[in-house]
């Protein structure tokens, strides 16, 4: 298992890292959304006002179904939700992405409060405001 995935499991206090067992394996349904989880590895540069709108991250999850990096440009318009950290449950719209960097739209405010090792998920669905 990739180091980032193991680290995320440790950070989240999960004894079973990214369990594919349990009712998930007994009932198989189609995914409701395309989604990719990730962990922040570095914060983006703040603007002149100290606002942060980007970060560097790495995908985490089961090795068989998790890419090593984000598909450049493909996450534009996807919804990003924080699953851990100070911004737990806060949602944003992805404005742009490279293989390792994600930038969110300014429409939802800055990302300030996020930290390295925070975990997030990007999902292919429009953010409702």
């Amino acid at each position: 298992m990739r180091f980032a995935t193991r680290l995320a499991a440790a950070v989240l206090g999960s004894g079973i890292a990214f369990a594919q067992a349990g009712h998930d394996d007994v009932v198989r349904v189609d995914p409701a959304l395309k989604r990719l989880a990730g962990m922040i590895t570095a914060l983006g540069e703040p603007d002149a006002e100290g606002r942060i709108y980007s970060f560097r991250g790495t995908p985490i999850g089961p090795p068989a179904s998790t890419p090593k990096e984000y598909p450049p440009g493909e996450l534009r318009g996807w919804r990003l939700t924080f699953l851990a950290g100070q911004r737990f449950s806060a949602a944003f719209e992805v404005q742009a992405n490279t293989a390792a960097e994600i930038t969110v739209s300014a429409a939802d405010g800055p990302l300030n409060g996020i930290a390295v090792r925070d975990v997030f998920i990007v999902e292919e669905i429009e953010l409702k405001r």
Binding site: A19, H23, V29, A32, G50, L83, N112, G113, E123
Partner: protein, 161 residues
């Protein structure tokens, strides 16, 4: 001053995302509705940060672990099935309440196999700031075969520590 402005902006944004509910049963129903509506943020905002989940023999010891490990699948299942509330009992007092529900769950798996079972749900909620949020879920099923398969799979799938 700029820093103060940023902190205030963050606090406003954080509080705007927080939901909770005035009544315990409303929080439970809102959580299921959020899953059905594919609204990850709304579902998370109904969870207390001290959440522990027991689900078919497995444990998510933190809200963050549940959010990453199992909430996405629960959303997939909610979208692929219909949950009809069959029974509900509400109890507790003050800021600590419980909601016991049974649901008839119907739907189809990806391969067309029908889903037809009764899901049993125990929810414990805590009120903070006038709003109830969920601190514990326990899901199981009246289908003994399903429960056994789930627990068997989980045992086999457990990662070594």
């Amino acid at each position: 001053m700029k820093r103060l402005g940023l902190v205030l902006a963050c606090l406003v944004a954080c509080s705007a995302a927080a939901q909770g509910a005035r009544l315990p049963a409303e929080a439970v129903d809102a959580f299921h509705a959020a899953l059905r509506n594919k609204d990850t943020a709304a579902a998370l905002s109904l969870l207390d940060r001290g959440l522990v989940v027991y689900e078919f023999g497995g444990v998510d010891p933190t809200a963050e672990a549940y959010a990453l490990n199992h909430l996405p699948f629960d959303m997939d299942l909610a979208v692929a099935s219909q949950w009809k509330l069959e029974t509900r009992r509400v109890g507790g007092e003050g800021n600590e309440r419980w909601v016991l529900s049974t649901y008839r769950v119907n739907g189809k798996q990806a391969d067309g196999t029908p889903i037809d079972q009764v899901t049993l749900e125990t929810v414990i909620l805590r009120r903070s700031g006038g709003l109830f949020r969920i601190v514990h879920f326990h899901w199981s099923t009246s289908d003994a075969g399903f429960q056994a398969r789930s627990q068997g799979q989980r045992t086999q799938g457990a990662a070594p520590r």
